[in-house]
């Protein structure tokens, strides 16, 4: 009973003091605004989940350090982390827990794997909680949902954006336009979706001839037949699409063994697996030198401070898309809160849906604005290349930290 009375009194006091013009007092006491982070913190995907948490924590710290949400009297952001585990069922449970028990969340971000994001968004959609996501399955924003906001280019769009640039790069560097292409990929959802877009649309458009098309089920047990086939077909481009570090290592080492490494056959990937810091624990920098990958986001030019913070605070050698995008999500939520002017999920969702927060800062290309499906307008990609043991952004030019080199035959 006393608790209720005293809190009433305090609220009355705050209201009264604000009315009296003591706005500084009110600002200092503005209640924190809660933001959800729902990512795998345990199980098979704990590592990328932990990296996303780093990005979110840095984002919250930086937003708060810059004065919090000004429209809410300088309210601070507060991160609520939930472990979505390593199965769809656990993800669904965690999402349900998030909406049922963290009722004052204004927005959330997650959930790494597109299967998890699908399950989580089924819950957040019904609870009308805006969910930002880095997952790039096209399906996520093809379901007619109104509370999901996809910050990355979709899987289909990524290859469409990245491959023509690679072709230009190849032509400029080697003086010869690639004519033939080989694919070796695992059969995970992302790879299959990417390959479908490549084979059905992009290869005909770019006049590329598919000379090899191999699929494996992870884990890859022996890369010899794959790489033998690469050697015999000698493609101008080799699209190597593993989603597990072990598979990537096996394929790349076999290429080196066959004398195809170091760019003898230009090798391109479509996921961050091949550019994860874990790679260097299993292969030497020479093995990966020159390999490129097309990713949804990366630590790029203009984010040198963020990259340094990540290194200093968490010991991460470079900032992958998981860190940068989740960091950016915090700033985007801040922007939406500023526009909404209320710590309310409906208002934040509305702000995200209708707002234009200017040119993108922490996602490559386009604007901080979403179309009717919830896809970020003008979302681009980053091409990353392994150079002397570090995967650096080499495209687009305005974000590149180093110029690309096209491996000489």
């Amino acid at each position: 009973m006393t608790g209720t009375i005293s809190s009433l009194t305090r609220r009355g006091f705050v209201g009264g003091s604000a009315a009296l013009g003591l706005s500084t007092v009110a600002r200092a006491q503005a209640p924190a605004v809660k933001v959800g982070l729902i990512v795998p913190l345990s199980g098979l995907y704990a590592r990328p989940g932990a990296v996303m948490r780093m990005g979110a924590e840095l984002g919250v710290a930086d937003v708060n350090a810059a004065g919090g949400i000004k429209a809410l009297g300088g309210a601070k952001l507060e991160l609520v982390a939930l472990d979505c585990g390593d199965t769809v069922e656990k993800a669904k449970n965690a999402a349900q827990r998030m909406v049922a028990q963290e009722t004052d969340l204004v927005a959330a971000t997650g959930a790494y794997l597109s299967s998890f994001t699908l399950a989580v968004s089924e819950v957040t959609e019904r609870a009308a909680l805006p969910l930002l996501t880095l997952s790039y399955s096209d399906l996520l924003t093809d379901r007619g949902f109104r509370y999901i906001f996809q910050t990355a280019a979709t899987a289909a769009a990524q290859s469409a954006l990245g491959l023509p640039e690679l072709m230009k790069l190849a032509e400029a560097a080697s003086g010869k336009r690639p004519r033939t292409v080989a694919i070796a990929m695992d059969n995970t959802g992302t790879s299959v979706a990417t390959a479908k877009a490549l084979k059905e649309k992009l290869f005909p458009q770019l006049d590329l001839k598919l000379v090899m098309d191999e699929v494996w089920t992870p884990p890859l047990s022996d890369a010899t037949p794959l790489i033998q086939k690469v050697r015999s077909t000698r493609p101008d481009l080799f699209l190597f699409m593993p989603n597990a570090v072990a598979d990537a290592k096996l394929g790349l080492e076999k290429m080196n063994e066959f004398g195809l490494g170091q760019g003898r056959v230009p090798t391109i990937s479509f996921s961050i697996t091949i550019a994860e810091p874990d790679m260097l624990q299993s292969v030497s920098p020479d093995v990966v030198q020159g390999i490129m990958t097309i990713v949804a986001n990366w630590g790029v030019k203009g984010q040198e401070r963020l990259i340094a913070d990540v290194k200093a605070k968490y010991g991460e050698p470079w900032a992958t898309q998981n860190i940068v995008s989740t960091y950016g999500d915090m700033w985007l939520i801040k922007d939406a809160l500023e526009k909404a002017g209320r710590a309310d999920r409906a208002a934040v969702a509305d702000a995200l849906r209708t707002g234009d927060f200017g040119p993108s800062r922490y996602y490559p290309g386009g604007r901080l604005q979403f179309d009717e499906k919830g896809r970020r307008i003008g979302a681009g990609v980053v091409i990353v290349q392994w150079q002397k043991g570090v995967p650096v952004a080499v495209f687009p030019d305005d974000l590149a930290l180093a110029p690309p080199f096209w491996p000489k035959r």
Binding site: L41, S42, L82, N93, Q96, A100, E122, R143, G144, V192
Partner: protein
């Protein structure tokens, strides 16, 4: 059929659960309540096959996943409602059960378990290859109820509860009847079940079809709850393991096992995940694993059986149980008079069984060579011979476990070679086994009832035949005791009763007197003689000569698979060659006296 009374505890539990679901407004707790039911139903489906037949399936996710994809793909491509697709999932699960069962039931034990493991893993890759890595049930904003997309999560719990009650009723209905008895008999000893006249393959197929149907239905419902279906989430190893975990934790072979298992494990795992997952990631798995290990160490057969045994033990202190052994003794005593009157030898009735030139080899070993003999109606034939003489092999040839290389087994003038054991049982050949395999947790009466289904048209008749058989072997006083509490003699008598309940005309007894003390053997002998008096023809394999001489009308002596001698007991026991070779020096002296 389960009586209403036997369902009362289940219905009360269901009503309480429904009450709990109605109070809970937190959608997350409600989801947990729904998932408890989902995994309980899946556990029951597993239990129906593996719990009752003992054939462990590591691959129940195959049926579960097919059900889940039925809902997902049916709604995406055909725009059908889950109200229709859940029954459709059951049909598909049922068919999948048959398709899986027909080839896989050729395997037993570990081989069966491993083969089952392969199905969901294969399905996982098939569905990935088909491009169904991630499918979601389309959101229906206009007619959510028609598509089972309730805004009130309590309705999901109620639908699941209705499914669970239906599955429990089905399971209970099976438990008490010949279906359940047949499955239990298969679990205890598949060979004995066949010998008791149970068509084991057909019952196993029925079990896997029904089990597949339940798993398919609950898988279909799971897709509705999760709204997202991916191959690992419905065909994965963890899904199959979930069925085993909840059943083994709660108790295998009982309807309560999976219910207890799911009601404890699912919330505990979720609470651990929720409370610790974000703070000490991964610790929840460690605690959960340790908890399961602790429970399995303390209650290896599951919580239910542990608790039940405890309660029985406590009740055993009452005077009622103390009186029981006395009652048994009293009922058996009448047969125990040691000096048995000489029996009138019979060898005159019509020939019931005629064996002609029967041979069987295992590689180079000629286990049975050109054996011929006749069994006349009402006689007791004793088959003797040293270990390895081929006695049990001969029995296995007679009742269809083995197929002879040559020869005929003529019953009632018809050659029965090539028929399966349950068919021969139907033709009137009953059998007991050297190694006893009683159903330890079942009462004597229920043990015997398994054998009665061979002849009984109804449950009532089965009960009557079982009671008659129990009376005939003199176990009436012990009829309600649990087989696990019986002495060896009582177990032998019970096995005899089980064979008798099928009303055989010819009874093959494999070392029925083995392991019995002197006085005990006499009691059993008395029972066998009484059976012969009532017109049952008996063929008995035995080592115990003393009892045999006074029991049988005729001896068949086997050595190295061949008939050495065929004659009256007096002649056989006095034949020096037989005595020397098979009966020992003691009998040589006896013969010369």
């Amino acid at each position: 059929m389960p009586t209403l009374r036997s369902l009362v505890p289940v219905l009360v539990a269901a009503a309480l659960y429904a009450g709990l679901a109605a109070i809970v407004t937190n959608s997350y707790y409600q989801l947990t309540l729904t998932l408890v039911l989902v995994w309980a139903i899946f556990g029951l489906s597993w239990n129906l096959l593996s719990g009752y037949t003992g054939l462990v399936s590591f691959g129940h996710a195959a049926f579960f996943g097919l059900g889940a994809y039925t809902t997902a793909l049916g709604q995406i491509y055909l725009d059908l409602s889950p109200w229709l697709l859940i029954p459709a999932g059951a049909v598909i699960g049922c068919l999948a059960g048959l398709v899986v069962g027909i080839p896989t039931f050729r395997l037993r034990g570990h081989y069966f378990a491993l083969a089952m493991l392969a199905y969901p893993l294969a399905m996982l890759y098939v569905f990935e290859w088909l491009g169904f890595q991630e499918v979601t049930l389309p959101i229906k904003r206009e007619s959510p109820f028609a598509y089972m997309q309730f805004s009130d999560p309590r309705l999901y719990t109620l639908v699941a509860l209705a499914m669970l009650v239906a599955v429990v009723v089905i399971t209970r209905a099976i438990e008490g009847t010949r279906f359940g008895m047949a499955l239990l008999a298969i679990k205890q000893n598949e060979a004995a079940a066949e010998a008791a006249g149970i068509d084991t393959l057909s019952w196993k197929l029925r079990a896997i079809a029904l089990s597949g149907a339940i798993a398919g239905a609950v898988g279909a419902f799971y897709a509705v709850v999760l709204l997202v279906v991916t191959p690992p989430s419905v065909f994965g190893m963890l899904v199959s393991a979930q069925a085993l975990t909840v059943s083994m934790f709660g108790g295998v072979g009982t309807v309560w096992g999976p219910l207890i298992g799911a009601a404890v494990l699912i919330p505990v795992s979720e609470i651990l995940h929720a409370e610790l997952g974000a703070r000490i990631p991964g610790i929840q798995g460690v605690i959960f694993g340790l908890a399961i290990m602790a429970v399995i160490l303390l209650a290896p057969e599951g919580v239910y059986w542990r608790v039940r045994d405890r309660l029985r033990q406590r009740r055993a202190g009452s005077p009622v149980t103390d009186n029981r052994p006395a009652a048994v003794e009293a009922s058996v005593v009448s047969f125990a008079a040691p000096p048995l009157p000489a029996r009138e030898r019979r060898r005159t009735g019509a020939v019931l069984l005629s064996v002609r030139g029967l041979s069987k080899s295992f590689g180079g070993l000629k286990a049975v060579q050109n054996v011929s003999f006749d069994v006349h109606e009402g006689m007791i034939l004793g088959i003797i011979g040293p270990n390895g003489a081929g006695k049990t092999t001969l029995f296995n040839l007679l009742n269809g476990f083995l197929r002879p290389d040559a020869g005929q087994v003529i019953v009632d003038g018809r050659d029965r070679v090539g028929e399966r054991p349950h068919q021969l049982a139907r033709a009137g050949i009953g059998r007991t086994f050297q190694v006893m395999r009683p159903f330890l947790r079942m009462s004597v009466r229920d043990n015997v009832r398994v054998g009665a289904y061979l002849r009984a048209a109804s449950e009532e008749e089965a009960r009557r035949l079982a009671d008659e058989a129990v009376d005939r072997v003199g176990l009436r006083g012990a009829a309600d005791r649990i087989a696990g509490q019986l002495t060896t003699k009582e177990l032998r008598l019970m096995e005899l009763a089980r064979a008798l309940a099928g009303q055989p005309r010819l009874l093959l007894l494999d070392e029925t007197l083995a392991g019995l003390g002197h006085g005990e053997a006499d009691e059993v002998v008395a029972v066998i003689r009484r059976l012969a008096e009532t017109g049952i023809t008996i063929v008995i394999i035995e080592h115990t000569m003393q009892a045999m001489v006074r029991l049988v009308d005729h001896f068949l002596v086997l050595d190295h698979g061949a008939v050495l001698m065929d004659g009256e007991p007096e002649r056989v026991t006095r034949d020096p060659q037989v005595i020397e070779a098979y009966l020992g020096k003691k009998w040589v002296a006896h013969a010369h006296a």
